[in-house]
Symmetry: C2
Subunit: 323 residues, 2 copies
């Protein structure tokens, strides 16, 4: 392999961390992953990241000098320029971890760091459902809710890398809590939000005499996850379908704000939207058409992310490419 | 004067239209204005615009060939590329007026057309309170409420020139009407919105036993304008001050959304904010600090527009410059 031709992506999530090798993204040569286990602190995971990169190299008999750059994709807040992870909510023990310096010293190469919503936006724009768009918004809708914004073909980061924090916007005066705020977008429309509203929906269903598979979870003292709701809805569960429908309508309200303010050609939604599909996006699209200005709403497509499970890998590789 | 060195700005508003000549904006050589009188249709105003440009030329003994370009700044909706005004709310009789073609034919020069919020954003960014900013939002807060967005030093127009329509965003489920929508940003926070909420504030004041100069207007069957409220507040009127304070808090809610989503260095507010100053912006700034994410809120300045009464003139000249 030619010198300095290998890109290494490191996708650090609250649940798992993946290390990916590529010569020409989005194609990958190899990958490995391990549980992040943030409760143990950053040290063990950092060691596993280094070992993972070394393993990927040695499996193919490659020298470190073949690495062109390393890209780290990770939840914010982080200091992108200095390359420091600053205790994101899903990695609360990772306090001021200078991951750029650590990896640059270890592998004697450049390392870039970017928040996962921005990296995902570039990945979908370059290789996924946002191809060919000049103005696009990528929404991550998983445990949290965030956005990466592409304007005029380029990632828009804002004055101090904080743009796209739509999950923090207040949708109602009170409501489920997300991003430390009651009634926020992340409170209403995320995996965490669905877990909060589901017990209420089950109680309402009970009053109406509806049986729902979700009641079982509560009976066993288990939290209801977005995954549970998706599965139940697919089996025709009315309560679960209603949760997804109302989450879709809330999603439409938020997207209508983005449509009126940013007038994007396309909104690409990852995470839960991929699993829930039109059950979620149908109601969202309808609200956008009613709520946003017609000329903007008409031209804006709302679609699920196309890179699917691979988005984290490709996003980290886009960071390695320097975005 | 050198051939093709003169810029002509045409600022068309619902109340008045101004024609401005300049060789080096923001300095102007001369200007004239006349009432737009949209109730008479576009024809008389178009004739006066042409006469106005000819008068400015002949007063200085200049030929038409000295005109480098004409810039028209006007409320939207409009077709910027074709240069057609499409019945904006404040010029509802101006249905599909091809002003670009009309002026290009008459003066044998290029004519550019841009909506006034975008033109104002560029004017404040280049010559006013937004100088030196890479990421800035300009808010027009007059009869209506709109925004012009500067990202990475350039005007951001969106996919089909509709970006910045924050006035259309819903703030509450019901409320004063603006932009054809109850509870919208324009309904709550604009001259039109203040006129709608003022009678309620007077009634509340009466219940509390407060006397207010604004009651006089209602007694004579006159609407209360934002100007009336500003004057009364300056004279210590408690009811008027409360209207401005609560409008400021609503403004803060909207700006907090823009701060979280766009992370601008500065928000520059024209129109009513210039007249009301800190009585309006003080409460707005406080809400932003409480509502938006700290790293974004801390670095974002909220200031009144600096070009003051001249903003329309300079905005139209920026359009003539090709923005």
């Amino acid at each position: 392999m030619a010198k300095r031709s290998l890109l290494i992506g490191v996708d650090i999530g609250g649940t798992k961390t993946a290390v990916i090798a590529s010569q020409k993204p989005p194609a990958t040569i190899d990958r490995m992953e391990f549980p992040t286990r943030p409760e143990r602190g950053a040290e063990p995971a950092l060691r596993l990241i280094k070992e993972g990169i070394n393993d990927l190299l040695s499996k193919r008999g490659l020298e470190r000098t073949t690495i062109r750059a390393i890209g780290v994709s990770c939840g914010g807040p982080l200091d992108r320029i200095r390359g420091v992870i600053q205790a994101p909510p899903n990695l609360s023990t990772w306090v001021d971890i200078p991951i750029k310096a650590i990896l640059e010293e270890e592998f004697e190469t450049r390392c870039h760091v970017e928040n996962d919503a921005n990296a995902g936006a570039v990945a979908e724009h370059r290789f996924g459902a946002g191809r060919g768009c000049r103005n696009m918004i990528f929404i991550t809708m998983g445990t949290g809710f965030g956005a990466g914004i592409i304007t005029e073909g380029h990632l828009y980061r804002g004055a101090n890398d904080m743009a796209g924090e739509i999950g923090h916007v207040r949708l109602t005066r009170s409501g489920p809590i997300g991003y430390y705020k009651a009634g926020s977008v992340e409170g209403w429309i995320s995996g965490g939000g669905i877990a909060q509203v589901a017990p209420l929906a089950v109680a309402t269903g009970r009053k109406r005499g509806e049986t729902t598979a979700l009641a079982e979870h509560l009976r066993h003292g288990k939290p209801i996850t977005a995954r549970d709701v998706a599965l139940a809805a697919r089996n025709g569960d009315a309560v679960a379908s209603r949760i997804i429908h109302s989450t879709g309508r809330r999603l439409g309200q938020v997207l209508a704000i983005l449509v009126d303010v940013l007038n994007p050609e396309r909104i690409v939604i990852g995470g839960l939207a991929i699993r829930l599909g039109d059950a979620l996006l149908g109601p969202a699209r309808k609200v956008i058409q009613g709520e946003a200005l017609a000329p903007s709403a008409t031209i804006c497509e709302v679609v699920p992310a196309a890179l699917d499970e691979r988005i984290g890998d490709v996003a980290a590789l886009c960071v390695a490419m320097g975005l």
